[in-house]
């Protein structure tokens, strides 16, 4: 099975306070460290496990500059055989659809049975997978949290739905799946693993290599335009209790009693 996994380099935001730059058009990126989008990492692990069982190879692709190569190498160190970098100034400022268009270009140049994306990334839009599937006229399933290969034409996939339930589907190959976290336990990649694949050639494609017109990608073609960033106002918010722990605890007990929180 030939599997393509689309990955994205994103800033690590969990431990860091995100601040907005002085122009208000982006976050302050100077002190941030980047890594592969968590959802994408699960997708790559899943692809590698599938190939380990069923044969074939995994290719990882990303849209970005040279710095994005690092995440490709990290995923290749996990076991993806090939990496492809889509690097062109023309891609800059693309919205989700522009990114999907770029990926469509590279998918059409290859011959993939299965295309995976992470369910979402830093922008929280959860859009590229579904758009890509529609552009390619392929079946799509989102938020996939289990995959079972039925044969070389069909997969059985589970989708995570509300209430912690799982929706089981049979889906024909080729198809596009967006992967939810928790589907597996991604393996560790250390510095050594990355160095091992440091010299593997990663082909780079520009927009014109993929036959993509300037009107389809980039800021100009974006249908959803970003105006600015801002820190949400905290609104009325909670009434903050202050004082010593003891005092707070006593106040809280009174409130709990009043609200029926104590039995």
């Amino acid at each position: 099975m030939e599997i393509l996994v689309c990955v994205k380099r994103v800033p690590d935001t969990e431990e860091n306070e995100i601040e907005i730059n002085s122009d208000g058009n982006d976050i302050e990126r100077d002190d941030l460290v980047y890594s592969v989008n968590e959802w994408d990492n699960y997708a790559v692990e899943e692809a590698i496990q599938m190939v380990d069982k069923a044969g074939g190879s995994v290719t990882v692709v990303t849209v970005g500059d040279e710095e994005a190569e690092e995440v490709l190498r990290r995923e290749m160190a996990m076991g993806a055989e090939n990496g492809i970098l889509l690097d062109d100034e023309a891609f800059e400022g693309s919205d989700g659809r522009g990114i999907a268009r770029a990926l469509k270009g590279v998918i059409e140049k290859g011959n993939y049975d299965l295309i995976m994306t992470g369910a979402q990334a830093d922008a929280g839009a959860a859009q590229v997978g579904g758009m890509l599937a529609a552009m390619l006229d392929l079946p799509y399933a989102s938020l996939v949290n289990s995959i079972e290969v039925i044969d070389d034409k069909k997969l059985k996939v589970g989708r995570e739905i509300e209430g912690g339930n799982q929706e089981m589907n049979e889906i024909e190959l080729p198809c596009v799946l967006s992967i939810q976290t928790g589907i597996n336990e991604p393996r560790y990649v250390g510095i050594r693993g990355i160095r091992k694949v440091a010299s593997v050639d990663i082909p780079t494609h520009s927009a014109s290599d993929l036959g993509i017109g300037a009107d389809e990608i980039g800021e100009g073609a974006a249908r959803l335009k970003k105006v600015d960033y801002f820190v949400p106002e905290s609104g009325e918010g909670a009434e903050m209790l202050e004082g010593s722990t003891e005092e707070i605890a006593e106040k809280m007990i009174e409130i709990l009693k009043a609200k029926g929180g104590l039995k």
């Binding site: 922008a123 839009a125 859009q127 059985k156 209430g163 799982q166 949400p232 909670a238 605890a249 929180g261």
Partner: protein, 321 residues
């Protein structure tokens, strides 16, 4: 202004909470617009009639193929019936996420997902607010909606419109929707196991998040819950770490709870988590981080380390009783 359509999610003949939230959302896009509902399913007449109270027209697709909402089939059907310049709203949930990005491509419309607010139009541009980086920052975005749009709206942020004064009518579009072939076949829903405690029935919940730090500390929360006569629930990271069973998880990907009092202990308050809290409970939040989003939705907040605060509170409750 084009027509606005709201997709009505439903289960067992009952509309999802989002059904009336989308009425408010649509009015925020354009207070004067005609807002129609899309109801797709099998045997949905009753639901359509209910919706007619809130929407001008209720477009009905009533077919056995869509007895279960298979996004792949419904997308094709919607394409067959929607006008090209329709503005289509979905709740940003596991169904909306599944269907809408592809629909926007097929309709050749702009797509905005997980919108938390609308700020009116500027010419043909609709201004919207989204969040990025796990809700840490917000962003204004705009899209030219003159040729339609597909938008997913965050559940729970718009007040449901209970006015029910639309006096609308039901329009059967089943014929127009046609038959749609699919390469993705729905098989079944595997229902999550209910653990020893059904938190959806709990009146008081002590809910823990990342702030609990270690598996062993869960005991501290259990002791507090015991003293209060409450049950213990949690956020997703606790379940991902396998410290509590899945049936204890509150959130869109877990259980939906309707307690009277909800104690959010060391929970930052992502919208996926808040999406699982319904019925407007009294929320008490304790978190080390004064900027934690949970404080925006809580009634009472305390900036403290839950590992220190909870034992103290437990002690005081025991003393008081």
């Amino acid at each position: 202004m084009a027509q606005i359509f709201a997709y009505i999610e439903h289960k067992d003949g009952v509309a999802d909470d989002s059904a009336l939230e989308l009425v408010s959302a649509a009015k925020k896009i354009d207070a004067g617009a005609d807002v129609n509902a899309l109801v797709v399913g099998s045997g949905v007449d009753g639901l359509c009639n209910d919706m007619a109270a809130s929407y001008k027209e209720v477009w009905k697709i009533d077919k056995d193929d869509v007895a279960y909402p298979n996004a792949e089939i419904i997308r094709g059907m919607l394409l067959n019936i929607l006008p090209g310049d329709a503005i289509v709203l979905f709740p940003h949930d596991t169904f909306g996420m599944d269907l809408s990005p592809g629909l926007s491509v097929k309709m050749d419309s702009p797509f905005a997902s997980d919108v938390v607010d609308f700020e009116g139009t500027d010419g043909s541009d609709l201004k919207m607010i989204r969040q990025e980086f796990g809700g840490q920052v917000s962003t204004h975005v705009k899209a030219d909606i003159s040729s339609g749009a597909v938008i997913t709206v965050r559940p729970g942020v718009f007040e449901p419109d209970e006015s029910k004064s639309a006096g609308g009518s039901v329009v059967d579009k089943t014929g127009d929707a046609g038959d749609v072939a699919t390469k993705r076949k729905f098989l079944e829903v595997v229902v999550a196991e209910i653990g020893d405690v059904d938190i959806t029935k709990s009146e008081v919940l002590v809910s823990i998040g990342r702030g609990i730090e270690e598996e062993d500390n869960i005991e501290i929360a259990q002791e507090l819950a015991e003293a209060m006569g409450a049950d213990v629930s949690c956020s997703r990271p606790i379940v991902d770490a396998k410290w509590l069973e899945k049936s204890r998880q509150v959130g869109t990907s877990g259980q939906t709870v309707k307690p009277k009092v909800y104690m959010a202990m060391g929970i930052s308050g992502s919208f996926q988590h808040l999406g699982g809290i319904k019925g407007n409970p009294y929320i008490i939040a304790v978190n080390k981080n004064p900027k934690a989003p949970i404080f925006q939705v809580a009634d009472i907040g305390v900036v403290a380390d839950i590992l220190e605060f909870m034992p103290e509170l437990t002690e005081k409750i025991k003393e008081a009783s």
